[in-house]
Amino acid sequence: MRVIENEKTRKALRIGVPIVLTASAMLCALFATDGRKYVVITVIVALLTLLLFAAGFDRRRIGSRRLILGAVFTALSVTGRFIPLLKPMSAMIIIAGLYAGPETGFLVGSTSALISNFWFGNGPWTPMQMVALGLTGFFAGVFSPLLEKSRAALIAYGALSGIFYSMFMDIWTVTSSVGTLDLHEYLTALYYALFFMISYAVSNALYLFLLAPPFGRKLRRIKDKYGL
């Protein structure tokens, strides 16, 4: 059953719902509080980004092979999160963006976060994680001409995206725990999370170094063999 049968209504809702949601959330936040409820705003903004993206993604018709390619990348990165010692999730997302474009990159990043959290624990942080990992894949796609040319640039991007992810998620840590977001608090939180930041950066760089070139070869082979 479709919730709404009429196509026009669906379209209107698709655009309308996010706008109404943000507006009402902002109003709620302002009314009910002293206007400093960043945690709600953070989550809402994250959700919005996802909704807008999903709607945009749907407008373009994509073929079954592109879609399955995205699903394969996502399933690989979800599986990657399960393999002990080896957690090449972000690396896989970057590779997806690199070889399949920014949109697929975003899709793979955000869906990986959503689906793997079904095993590792979903929560209000899920939208944040979805956006963070989605952007990781998105920008890998945007910079792909550069990243494909130079392995050093790719590894640097991996390390930077690890740092970005950590910094992005610390916004959640601070807003959810402290409620507000000022620079001093944020920096302190970053300091306490330094270990994680470094480990993300190092593992991203390492796995990109190990996995990206063979992946390029595999994809080229598939493209040649099946004429994608």
Partner: protein, 514 residues
């Protein structure tokens, strides 16, 4: 009324010099059941893929294909998807939804059916196939046979006029493949769907076929009613894929009408004497399992319930049994992949735990798991053979070394994987379903390799559904049922005593030959 007309069809793959199909012409009437036979790589798949536009490979095509009188190329995407259904070899990979219901609705949703039409089609098809109680079930919990039936059911939801099947039963066990074929027959009979099926193992198919087609080296060498086609002797390669009655008919000179089924063949041929078990001396015990109990978790069901098994050096042992009887688990326990919670496994007289630092897997024991491609982790076959001495292998694979493992045919892949496993020079070899997706010629090669190994004193334990392969090379057979070994005996006695786990030839000859 012709549903499909193929005129002078030739096709050459993009980077290939020789055509894969040459001047193929035939026509199929609506409602017919067409079986296509021929050796691997002969062009069966190519033909089917050219008819199903969504699967057509890149290359140059000459000639015309008319569907319902209309050239294929002028069908809309929607018509092609809706009117021509397709089921391919691998049940696992063609399912895209995580639930049975989602898979059944897939075609209806893709074609944008109205709610009423979609539910009506799905309701009918799922009642016919018995999926109505399974709609909420996860697809990965289905057995291989159920998965393939699901693929068939979901291809039928859009009520296609023509159904193409590319070796749909080659990865199923005999029970599941018989179920599949009889369901296919019902669909052809009751729904009037035209069926074109390419398959290696034809023993259950001929009786339902209105037309039989042979395709060898890109040419159609025969097309007509099965009895007419088989009134002339097929080439050796095609004959080896024919059912036992047809093979015996031509072996005995081909006099009279060719029998198509075991029933028709019974009593037609005379056998001088019954095969006797040769007196054979085996060596010391290679594998001794005693009292093995295994389950995955403390709360789950026992999969092995006290298995005792001894296999000696130079012996080729086949283990038969239905899905889920614990065959694969037994092999995994013997190979040290799984650990039984009770009982012991000894390899060449030593407990498994006494082998340290990979000693077990270099020169003692090796195993070929179900998915042979998992042997190869590199981009070419050769890279996996880095340090191996190729001259010591029982089969010359030098031609396969530069190729990508996924470009090999089923038979080539299995033999290459077997060679990689043998490169560790094991004295005990464990094989799990080694002949899935192979044609008869490839099985023959495989059986010869195994015989040669046994001659050198290697012990071979094979878990399989393939009674034909066992008849070619096994010494002894065991039957497993519900987590235990029920009986063990010489391969001939074993097959004579069985009604189901036996070859067609054995059934037909009343046990004289296997």
């Amino acid at each position: 009324m012709e549903i499909l007309t193929v005129k002078d069809l030739s096709f050459t793959y993009k980077n290939a010099a020789d055509p894969a199909l040459e001047n193929v012409s035939f026509s199929v009437d609506a409602g017919q059941f067409v079986t296509i036979c021929g050796p691997t790589g002969g062009g069966k798949s190519t033909l089917l893929r050219l008819i199903k536009r969504e699967l057509s490979p890149a290359g140059t095509l000459k000639g015309t294909v008319l569907f319902d009188g209309v050239p294929l190329s002028s069908l809309t995407d929607r018509q092609s998807a809706e009117r021509i259904g397709c089921v391919v070899q691998r049940p696992e990979e063609q399912i895209v939804s995580d639930r049975v219901g989602g898979e059944l609705f897939f075609g209806a949703e893709s074609l944008g059916y109205s709610r009423e039409k979609a539910f009506r089609r799905v309701a009918e098809i799922s009642d016919l196939f018995g999926f109505s109680d399974l709609l909420g079930k996860r697809t990965d919990e289905l057995s291989g046979g159920q998965k393939q039936l699901l693929a068939l059911a979901s291809a039928l939801v859009t009520s296609p006029g023509l159904l193409l099947l590319d070796e749909p039963t080659s990865r199923l066990d005999p029970v599941a493949s018989a179920d599949f074929i009889s369901m296919l027959h019902r669909i052809n009979e009751e729904l009037g769907v035209t069926v074109m099926i390419a398959e290696h193992s034809t023993s259950g198919l001929l009786r339902y076929s209105d037309r039989l087609m042979f395709i060898e080296d890109g040419r159609m060498t025969a097309f007509g009613a099965p009895r007419d086609v088989l009134s002339q002797m097929p080439s050796e390669k095609v004959l080896s894929d024919m059912p036992a009655p047809v093979r015996e008919h031509w072996k005995n000179g081909g006099k009279g009408e060719c029998p198509l089924t075991v029933k028709e063949g019974r009593g037609l041929f005379t056998y001088d004497s019954r095969d006797k078990a040769p007196v054979k001396e085996y060596g010391d015990p290679a594998l001794e399992c005693s009292g093995l109990y295994f389950r995955y978790g403390r709360g789950s069901q026992d999969i092995l319930k006290g298995v005792d098994l001894t296999v000696r050096e130079g012996e080729i042992r086949f283990i038969f049994g239905g899905n889920g009887c614990g065959k694969t688990t037994l092999l995994n326990c013997a190979a040290g992949i799984e650990r039984p919670y009770s009982g012991s496994v000894r390899v060449f007289g030593r407990k498994l735990s006494s082998y340290k630092n990979g000693e077990l897997y270099s020169g003692n024991l090796s195993m070929l798991c179900q998915d042979a491609v998992s042997v190869f982790t590199h981009d070419t076959v050769g890279e996996s053979f880095k340090r191996a001495d190729l001259s010591s292998l029982p089969y010359d694979i030098s031609g396969l070394l530069p190729r990508h493992p996924y470009d090999l045919s089923g038979g080539e892949l299995q033999i290459a994987a077997l060679c990689r496993v043998l490169a560790t020079s094991p004295r005990l070899l464990l094989l799990d379903e080694p002949t899935k997706g192979m044609d008869a010629a490839a099985k023959e090669v495989f059986a010869n390799v195994l015989r040669g190994l046994a001659g050198k004193g290697v012990a071979v334990v094979t878990v399989s559904h393939d009674t034909e392969l066992a008849a070619m090379c096994a010494d002894t057979c065991s039957m497993m049922f519900s987590g235990g070994i029920v009986c063990t005996g010489d391969v001939r006695d074993f097959m004579r005593g069985n009604a189901f786990y036996t070859t067609d030839l054995c059934r037909m000859s009343g046990g004289a030959v296997i």
